[in-house]
């Protein structure tokens, strides 16, 4: 469903050129949930933005659902892949009601039955018509993230890109959102690509994980091996070990 081959993404040019992503390749099968982990600046979000079509690539190819994505995406291409961002405070327009936030993408794609689609999308993320005419500041952070997910699902995408979808949320809300994402992913047979620096979260959501460092994938491994602590690359082991409990236990 997702085929990334030799993708390099760079910023600046000449002597100031920085390769944020360097010759990265991986494939994600239909219905699979794949995770990208790494620290800030490793290029994971940049890569996700490139797959969403929000970022140009310097070289390499991105194919989604068997089609090669060029520099210009068609309206159908854009509908195929939708993204949920980290901060639901920043990703929803504060001057638009929930209704407008959800109807705008429908208008752009020229879809009909707007009313019915909005009600259905709200229901799918566990919200109701009572929230439809509220502004983002009138609902909680968790509810905002549900709206952001509804905005993605309303396009009936085949691929869902998740950029740290719960790192701005409380633990109890994180659990609700992760459960929601897994449920819709399963029900709709979505292919999901998730970026996070939180290993337990990504292990919960994904079946395979790629570890990135300085723009490169250093290791790809199935989540069972990660759970058993069987990582080959020293950096993956470092990430596993730097979970706070172990470090502090050593310090005390």
């Amino acid at each position: 469903m997702i085929e990334i081959a030799d993708v390099t993404i760079s910023f600046g040019s000449g002597a100031h050129r920085i390769d944020a992503v360097r010759a990265v390749s991986f494939k994600v099968a239909q219905g699979e949930a794949f995770g990208l982990v790494g620290e800030s600046g490793c290029g994971k979000s940049t890569l996700l933005r490139a797959i969403a079509g929000l970022q140009d690539t310097a070289s390499g190819s991105i194919a989604l659902a068997g089609q090669n994505m060029g520099a210009k995406r068609t309206r159908a291409d854009r509908r195929l892949v939708q993204m949920v961002f980290q901060d639901p405070y920043g990703s929803l327009n504060p001057t638009h009601t929930v209704d407008r936030i959800l109807s705008e993408p429908l208008a752009i794609q020229g879809l009909d039955n707007v009313d019915q689609r909005i009600e259905q999308a709200l229901g799918e993320v566990g919200m109701g018509s009572q929230h439809r005419f509220r502004y983002p500041h009138q609902i909680s952070g968790g509810q905002r993230q549900r709206i952001a997910i509804a905005r993605a699902l309303i396009m009936e995408p085949k691929i869902l890109l998740l950029d740290e979808p719960t790192s701005a949320l409380d633990l109890s809300v994180q659990a609700e959102i992760l459960n929601l994402l897994r449920r819709v992913g399963r029900n709709r047979g979505l292919t999901m690509l998730m970026v996070s620096h939180d290993l337990p979260v990504i292990a919960h959501m994904c079946s395979r994980i790629a570890v990135m460092k300085r723009g490169e994938i250093v290791e790809t491994l199935p989540v069972d091996r990660l759970r058993r602590g069987e990582a080959d690359h020293p950096y993956t082991r470092e990430l596993l070990a730097s979970s706070l409990e172990t470090t502090m236990a050593k310090a005390n």
């Binding site: 620096h197 337990p200 069972d224 979970s243 409990e245 470090t247 236990a249």
Partner: protein
């Protein structure tokens, strides 16, 4: 823990004046702090940050603070004048906030800011302040203090910015450090290094620490005691090492809804909030 507590908080209440009346944020919190590491955990809106600010008298004008007792040693913080408070802030109690990007002055070099924090509280010449600052930068493990002294905040990384912040807060040698989500804006590997550093510095100086965080793992592994807050009230207080065996259903619920790295769960348990947590009796 020592015989005379460093900080005594008894029945602290804070409410914010809202459009339709006062909104209570902290509702009758009591705890004492010795020369130890106390963690305050809770979710957004539980009032944990308000406590830190109330201790320092840094709440906005629309907040009303009341308490039976709010004392630092023998100083009454509640009735202290603004002038007296200004002397306490920084010198006796200091605070590290979440994001160094917003808490450092962007138009002043980091060395200058740390030196200023020293000179405000201690009589010292500029040369002495500079020397002290370089020492402090070294203490927070900045490799090349001379170079970093002249950098502006935008020229340092998040982790280094937070080290600078810690240096600035510790240089007047306060008795109590309040750290409000000090590492949440940083990468996991950097988080751990910083906490180890804070730990060493406060242990060496015999300081008290209040660590405010939403991160249960962090607080459990770093602190001596933990206060669990919900809706402005203390749900329970327990030894950090025994947090796994916490009694209160709220704490248990929070612990249960974390995803685990070592085993797969089909569905994460969700926290069912009990209305009695808002007003019911609280366990000792």
């Amino acid at each position: 823990m020592t015989e005379t507590p460093l900080l005594q908080v008894e029945d602290l209440r804070v409410s914010y004046q809202g459009r339709v009346g006062p909104v209570p944020a902290v509702r009758g919190i009591s705890f004492t702090l010795g020369r130890e590491r106390l963690g305050i955990v809770g979710e957004s809106g539980s009032g944990k940050s308000t406590i830190g600010r109330a201790i320092l008298g840094l709440l906005p004008r629309n907040a009303t603070v009341a308490a039976r007792r709010l004392r630092l040693h023998d100083t009454d913080l509640l009735h202290a004048s603004e002038r007296a408070l200004r002397d306490i802030r920084g010198r006796r109690i200091s605070m590290v906030l979440q994001d160094p990007k917003f808490s450092l002055n962007p138009v002043m070099t980091v060395g200058h800011q740390i030196a200023e924090s020293y000179r405000v509280h201690r009589r010292a010449s500029a040369t002495e302040a500079r020397r002290k600052t370089l020492e402090m930068l070294e203490a927070v493990r900045i490799d090349n203090p001379e170079r970093v002294y002249d950098l502006y905040p935008h020229e340092v990384s998040g982790g280094m910015g937070q080290r600078v912040m810690i240096a600035m807060m510790l240089i007047p040698e306060p008795e109590l450090l309040i750290a409000d989500e000090p590492t949440s804006a940083l990468d996991v590997t950097v988080q751990a290094q910083l906490l180890v550093l804070i730990n060493e510095l406060i242990a060496r100086r015999g300081m008290g620490l209040i660590l405010i965080s939403h991160n249960l793992n962090l607080v459990a592994s770093f602190c001596d005691r933990v206060v669990v807050m919900y809706a402005g009230r203390v749900m329970e207080t327990c030894r950090a090492a025994e947090l796994d065996r916490a009694q209160h259903p709220y704490t248990r619920g929070l612990l249960a809804c974390r995803p685990l790295i070592d085993r797969a769960q089909p569905e994460l348990p969700q926290l069912a909030r009990d209305p009695s947590w808002l007003d019911g009796p609280v366990a000792a």
